[in-house]
């Protein structure tokens, strides 16, 4: 397996990760995707672009984020837990890494109107933030159901000057917000930049979002080597909705001898039918512009996912994760709503850190019986975001009236 990933360079020129990925979009969007690919290829090798991005990551978002050795939970678990503190970023999650990268691309392309979809609201907030920073018009699509769950983030987007458009079609969650953003983009393709928030969508998005998020893994590698007396951690763990924080952490380690684990949302249980465990329970399909793995019925209709965490409540997954799953390079587990809630409280009480409910799924894996973690292993967990946005959901689940 190590050899296969030594020279890993997917996606190919057509945007495929073997059978996954590609461009399954209306014809109108093809020229826009080609334009984006051209600009991104140039930007990648342009020092000025990279310098501006690095400057913003450092001085605007506050990177590097800490790699924190979680002493108390490590003692309790019997192995070493390191938390990559993406929650310490400006706006409170890893989403800003990608938003900053893409807004610079949008600027380079001369686009004045930015659209985005959001589920938990973190990507919406990150997009509204960078749009404000660069003085661009910003429209964020969010499902009505998610507006209810994420009132605080909706208000934050308003404060940042974005127009928040509620989406009431379908399940009124992230997938429907994505449909609506795509419809907007098809209609306004010449003036508009679509700032996708995860490693999903048509090529080149899964690749460029991964690349912009890779700062997480690159920093982790250096920090771990500096702070431990070891070269590499034994294991990486991250939660997966679309999969951007996970790809950001995993990608710089794919060629290394490191075990890698993604944790999906098992909702009310894998057998309940109410979950968002795409890789565990889904099968091959095309949604939102890419071939990947999907929760769908026997007629190929996309089925409704469920997770207590709005950021994981998505029936698809990034195509590269589907590939990493099929190739066996990454192992995918899942954690239920209940396990995530327990982990949320556990980290808060033991380490004084409120994790996002999304990240709490990755933490929950650490406490599962059959996780395969050996005593004294060094495990890095991506703490993708802060939990302040989730306190209302957690209070509700605990039966507490705020």
């Amino acid at each position: 397996m190590k050899n296969k990933f030594k020279d890993y360079n997917l996606p190919d020129a057509r945007g495929h990760f073997e059978k996954f990925g590609g461009k399954f979009v209306p014809e109108t969007l093809i020229p826009a995707l080609e334009e984006l690919e051209r600009y991104y290829d140039e930007a990648k090798t342009d020092n000025a672009f990279q310098q501006e991005l690095n400057h913003l990551l450092k001085h605007y978002s506050g990177r590097k984020t800490a790699l924190y050795f979680a002493d108390r939970i490590s003692k309790e678990l019997g192995f070493n837990v390191w938390l990559k503190r993406e929650d310490l970023n400006h706006t409170g999650a890893h989403k800003i890494n990608n938003a900053l990268g893409q807004i610079l691309l949008a600027n380079r392309m001369g686009k004045k109107r930015i659209i985005a979809e959001t589920g938990a609201g973190q990507h919406g907030v990150a997009t509204a933030t960078v749009a404000a920073r660069f003085g661009l018009e910003c429209i964020v699509y969010i499902g009505k159901e998610d507006i209810r769950r994420q009132k605080l983030n909706v208000f934050r987007m308003n404060l940042l000057g974005a127009e928040v458009r509620p989406v009431s079609s379908g399940s009124m969650t992230l997938k429907d917000a994505t449909n609506e953003a795509i419809r907007d983009w098809v209609t306004n393709v010449e003036s508009t930049y679509y700032l996708i928030g995860s490693t999903v969508g048509p090529h080149p998005y899964p690749m460029l979002v991964r690349d912009f998020q890779s700062v997480i893994g690159i920093e982790t590698k250096q920090q771990f080597a500096n702070q431990s007396n070891r070269e590499l951690p034994d294991r990486l763990v991250a939660c997966i909705g679309g999969g951007s924080n996970a790809m950001g952490l995993f990608y710089p380690f794919l060629k290394d001898d490191v075990k890698i684990v993604g944790v999906e949302a098992a909702g009310k249980g894998l057998e309940s039918g109410e979950h968002a465990a795409t890789l565990t329970k889904g099968d091959f399909g095309v949604l939102h512009g890419a071939a990947s793995t999907l929760l769908q019925n026997e007629d190929g209709q996309v089925t409704l996912p469920h997770s207590i965490s709005a950021g994981l409540d998505y029936p698809g997954i990034g195509p590269e994760h589907s590939y990493l799953n099929e190739s066996g390079r990454v192992k995918y587990f899942s954690a239920t709503d209940e396990e995530a809630l327990d982990a949320f409280q556990w980290l808060s009480e033991k380490e004084g850190i409120l994790p996002a409910l999304e990240s709490a799924h990755a933490l929950a894996y650490l406490r599962q019986e059959n996780n395969g973690i050996e005593p004294d292993e060094h495990v890095v967990v991506c703490l993708s975001g802060r939990g302040d946005k989730d306190v209302h959901t957690v209070a509700d689940a605990l039966g507490i009236n705020l």
Partner: protein, 256 residues
Amino acid sequence: MNRIQKLFREPKEKLIPFLTAGYPKLESTVELVCAAAESGADMVEIGIPFSDPQADGPVIQKSSQQALDNGMTLNKIFEQVIQIRKRTDVPISLMGYYNPILKMGHETFLNRCVSVGVNGVILPDLPLEEATPFCELAKAKGVSPILLVAPNSPNERIKKISGLAGDLIYAVSILGITGNNLASKDALADYLNRVRANSVTPFVVGFGISSRDDVVWFNKHSDGAVVGSSIIKNMVGKSDPVNATELLIKILKGNI
């Protein structure tokens, strides 16, 4: 030669209504397609409902959701086409998103098309980059794959798309989704002339076409006009949607 190939050899005005399968009732489609054919439709597009119709405006989105709620599936569409074929020879094309077809499998899907008498397939989210395996298999089986071009498709690309399609292409009239307003006639004429000059096949135009005047104008600048959202919209709240559709198609065809 299939029915679509035959139809587009005839130099006449063509009206192509779109009907969402299973809308307004699960069983409506058989009567609606037959009535459309009798009222003057030259070809009929039957929409395969999908949970996530990204290229559709609110009218077709709602009809699609209603059809799914009614229990419509790809298999039921094929059963209904069998009923339709007992009554009419009108060329039939299915239009839908790629995932339900992928789930059924190209081979199974196309074999069913052939056996029930579906003549063409339009998949708006299967662009040139990904369409070759499906198109080659469809053509080998005698089903016309109808690929789409848009106002921002370059000339060279229009050539390639029409080359892969082989029999017919579908020119989207606007940058936008179904049911949007049309662009200015000057801009449209330039675009359609460009398609005419570069396409190696006949082409029909759709998105935003709603009146008899439109149908006449688009037939001057292309090989046929597709009317979708306004036909679906016209059924909303009607006690007799078949009658309402017949009437509208006669108007669009200039027979009233």
